[in-house]
Each structure stands twice: as structure tokens, then as C-alpha cells.
Symmetry: C2
Subunit: 318 residues, 2 copies
């Protein structure tokens, strides 16, 4: 039952006009996997592709949200509209541990040019990455000039999410030893810009040198990854960071890599969506369909191997 | 063309008899996605489920391989046979950065009761987790009493891999600030045993306290996660670690959670395998099938949204 003025077409229209409440409602639809949400993205998709999407990642506690808050001030000063999407990790025991971070962004809640939203990790990997892209597309369609995407952590799941960004910023702080090790060992992807936040720490310069040494091992082709020192809580280094992000964007636009990157990401997304949908369909069958349960019982009893069971499931499906 | 004595049935027979070369060859088949490898796992699968599978994870540089080397000494002293599977991250710029770690295991290369193998990250997530399980099954079938599974990092990809283990050991060292933060924020899953290695560091006890404080926030039901201090390079704390690992296994066997855990993991694996296979099939179509290319071109041109394109791909397929 749709209230008057709340139909899908009307919602799309209000969204495209930049209405904040329409955007919030649209993202909720997508987050809840409501078919209306998918229909909405379909409708507004031709209006996307204009926003600059910047991803921020890094271990918890380095001050990403404070940094993003300062960057919001910066872009608002240039009269650009901005949306922030924070992806919360699923917290098995301290639900909302990162809520404090989000509260730091409340300064901007009353500014009509700023839209802030967080989404919690969904069970399935494909699911969250998928919902993230849809939410980013909705923000883009609603006329935001910049979309900031924030994730916590540096594993594969975060890489899949952050891949939706045109520019990836890795935020570290002195003491982020594990992350620098991961960068060194090649476990972590090389970002486009590296920030060392909380730079009033005495070990900051040591850390910058260590990161620089690590980067020098990477094949340098084209873009040279800048390392920016910030002290976000005192707004230090923010202008330089904003400048480096803009420089990176100008660079990839000029080189044609932005178009390439987006093409590759969209292609991966379509494939991931198809696989995730199939998986979801199979999961539903597991609980509903007795014969699927029997198949799994065979696997548990070591009579049927997992790969053969998967092939059988696919055969039934195809 | 099979050489005499090298047919699938013969390979299975030699593998089940504990032949090291047969095991090595079988894992290569699985790693290369050779259909013969899948056939082999199918054949030996009924002989699996006996090995104790212990997963080791943690950031690079904490000394996981040295620790595993010492644990090998320990289990060999009790005449148990052991296999080690190290999963290397895909290293975009320092290929083989972790090779040094593996070299530390060479002490055991001549021991017929020890089998050591590493596998590199494959492009697709499902792919590596999948290959890992197959390799573990082969090791299990070949009569190893213990299988040690080693991954680097603490993201979702590692969680998917480490989920194949019955007992998960998280290895940290003083200075693993990011990992403790991730544990605290709930980004990282709670392991069954935590090791603080390199415990001659002056900050060890501070770190143990911090971890203990973090764990105390978790709902304590059943197993209480022990924190073991080790100095692997001097073989200190190894006996205690081995004991805690055994205690955990006895606990989950007694509580029935081992069977539950394996059932859940096998079910997830079947679903992941099915989704990964479908994705691989779709990926092949992308390069081969012109109409799929056209579908993606529509997405890039913002005329067709990713979700609709994914639905169209699935429809064609199903």
C-alpha cells in the first residue's frame, strides 16, 4: 500500500531532485533487499556516474571518521554536496563499538548538503558489497558531487567494497604495525593515497619512512602514491589530503584509467550479483527443500564429497 | 596420457596408503583445477574426517611459521603424522615475501611423517577457499593425524579459509595493535586460542591484559579462550600451546560442537562451491560470448543497471 506521493516513480523523482528523505528511504529499501529498491536503482541508474567516489579504509581506531568529518568541512566550503556511507563490520560481541565514530559526524546532520548513512555488515559477503554499490548509485543519482565510502579493516571483504571507489585512501596511524606489514607482504592492495593520521605522535616520521620504503618496492607506473600526514582532530593536513585526492582523480581521468576502472568494477559487480543471487536461492532451498537437506546429510556422512554435491545442486538449478 | 602406475585409481590407492609423492601430485591436480583432482577427492572422501585440523592466522611477521615448526617437533615427538598447508596471499609487488617463513620449515623436509605444502592465492575468493578444503581433505585421507592450516591476515577471506579448521589459533605479538583493535571492534572473529609470540618483548604482559580485557566483553559461553605466551624461536610455551589446542578439541568433541561446526562448514562449502562454479562459468562467457559483452556494455553506458544485468545473465543460464 503506497501512501499518496510515495509511489516508486514519485520516490525516484524526489530522489533525483536531491530530496534527502527520499534518498534515506531509497537506501533502506535497498538495504532490506526490497524489490522496490531494486526497481528504483534501475530507474535512476541512467543518472549515475557523475559523483567522485572516494573510499576510506584502514584499521579501527585510526580516526577515519574524524578525518572524513574534516573533509566534509572542506568540500562544503567549496559548495559541493557530499554523501557518506559507512560500512560497519558485523560485531559479534560489541555491537555498535564504532557508533562513537559515527557520532563525530553529527556536526553535519543539519546541513542539507550533507547526507550521512551507515550500513551494517550483512551475513553474506556478496550481499554487503552489492548493497553498498546500490546505495552509492542512489547517492550519486541524488546529485551528490562527492560520495565518501568508509570501511573498517583491510581484508578481502573491504577490498570488494572499496573497489566501488574511484580513489582509495588508506588511513593509518603510528602503531599500525600490522597494516604496514600487510602492505609490505603484499597482503593488502596498494591504495591511491596513504594518510598517517594522529601525526603528533613521535613515531610518525619513522612510520612515513617505513611506508615509503615499502612503496618503493612496488612497480611504479603512472601514479605515485602520496603519503599525507594529518592530525584530523586539529584539522591539520586536510587541505593537502583533499588536494591529493583531487590530483588522483584528475590523473585517472586524464589517463583514461577512471573509465577502465569503472568498467572492470561494474563487470565484477554484475558477476558477483549473479553468483550472490544464485547462492541466496540455494540457501533458501536448503531450509525449504528436503532433498537438498538430504544431499547435505550425505556430505556430512562423508558419502558424497562437497564438490559433487555442489555440482548436483547446480544441475538441479540449471 | 597416464604413465603406468599413475592412473586415478592407482593415485588414490597410493594416497590412502600415505605416499607423500602421491599426496603432492594430488594437491597439484586440485590446485590446477584439474578434473582428475576433483575425481580423486570424490574417491577418497569417505576416508576423511579423522584428522584434527588446526588453523593458524594472524598478521604477517608475528612468527607463525616458526611456531608451527615447533609444534611439528612436538607432535612428531608423540609419533603423530602431520601435514601443513600454508596459504600465501597474492602478492602484487613482493612475490614471495613470505618465502622466508616457509624456509624455516625446511628442517622437516626429510621427515617422512611431515608433509609441507603452500598454495598461492587464486584470483577468486571462492576459488582459494575451495582449493584449500580439497587439499585439506586429501591430507586427511592420506592418514595425517594433524593438519595445520596457515593463513596470513585477518580479513574475511582468511576467515573463510580458516573456517575449515576445527580449532582456530590467532597468533599476535606485542605491537599487533591493529589486530587487537579489530578484535575489540568485533571486526575479527573470536578465535579458540590466542598466542602472544615473541613474548620476551617488554610490552607482552600489557598486551595480554589488553586482550583479556577485550575477551571479557564477549559473551562467555562454554569454552574460555586461553591466551598463551610463546617465544617460538626458543621453543618456549610450545608445550602449553599444544595442550590448549588439545583441550579445545576435547571440549568440542565432548560438547558435540565439533560435529555441528563441521556440518555448518561443509554446508557453507557446498553453497560456496556452487556459487563459485556458476561465477566461473559466467566469467568464461564474458570473454567468449558476444551477447554477454553487449550486456556489460549496456551497464557501462548506464543504460542497464547491474542488478538487472545480473538477473538477465542468470535467466539465460537457468
Amino acid at each position: 500500500m503506497s501512501a499518496p506521493g510515495n509511489t516508486a516513480a514519485d520516490l525516484a523523482e524526489r530522489l533525483l531532485a536531491g530530496d534527502k528523505r527520499a534518498l534515506a528511504r531509497a537506501i533502506s529499501l535497498v538495504e532490506n533487499d526490497d524489490p522496490e529498491g531494486w526497481a528504483l536503482v534501475r530507474e535512476v541508474y541512467p543518472h549515475t556516474g557523475k559523483a567522485a567516489i572516494v573510499g576510506f579504509t584502514g584499521p579501527p581506531g585510526v580516526g577515519k571518521s574524524t578525518l572524513i568529518g574534516r573533509l566534509i568541512d572542506h568540500v562544503r566550503g567549496r559548495e559541493r554536496e557530499v554523501a557518506v556511507l559507512s560500512i560497519d563490520p558485523s560485531s559479534p560481541f560489541t555491537q555498535g563499538a564504532l557508533l562513537g565514530d559515527r557520532i563525530r559526524l553529527t556536526d553535519h546532520f543539519l546541513d542539507p548538503g550533507v547526507f550521512i548513512r551507515s550500513m551494517a555488515s550483512r551475513g553474506s559477503l556478496g550481499g554487503l558489497s552489492e548493497a553498498t554499490l546500490q546505495a552509492v548509485l542512489l547517492m550519486d543519482a541524488s546529485g551528490k558531487d562527492d560520495v565518501f565510502l568508509e570501511t573498517v579493516g583491510v581484508g578481502q571483504a573491504e577490498v570488494d567494497i572499496i573497489d566501488h571507489a574511484d580513489t582509495v585512501v588508506l588511513v593509518l596511524m603510528p602503531g599500525s604495525g600490522d597494516s604496514v606489514q600487510a602492505l609490505k607482504a603484499g597482503v593488502m592492495e596498494i591504495p591511491d593515497v596513504i594518510v598517517v593520521n594522529k601525526s603528533d605522535h613521535p613515531l610518525t616520521d619513522t612510520m612515513v619512512r617505513e611506508i615509503r620504503g615499502t612503496l618503493s618496492l612496488a612497480p611504479q607506473e603512472g601514479w605515485r602514491v602520496p603519503i599525507v600526514k594529518t592530525e584530523a582532530s586539529r584539522s591539520e593536513g586536510i587541505d593537502e589530503l583533499a588536494e591529493k585526492i583531487e590530483e588522483h582523480r584528475a590523473f585517472i581521468e586524464e589517463q583514461g584509467t577512471l573509465a577502465e576502472r569503472r568498467r572492470r568494477n561494474l563487470m565484477n559487480e554484475v558477476l558477483a550479483l549473479a553468483a550472490a543471487r544464485l547462492r541466496r536461492r540455494l540457501e533458501a532451498q536448503v531450509s525449504e527443500d528436503e532433498s537438498v537437506q538430504e544431499l547435505l546429510d550425505e556430505v556430512v556422512a562423508r558419502r558424497l564429497d562437497p564438490a559433487s554435491a555442489a555440482a548436483k545442486l547446480l544441475e538441479r538449478e540449471l
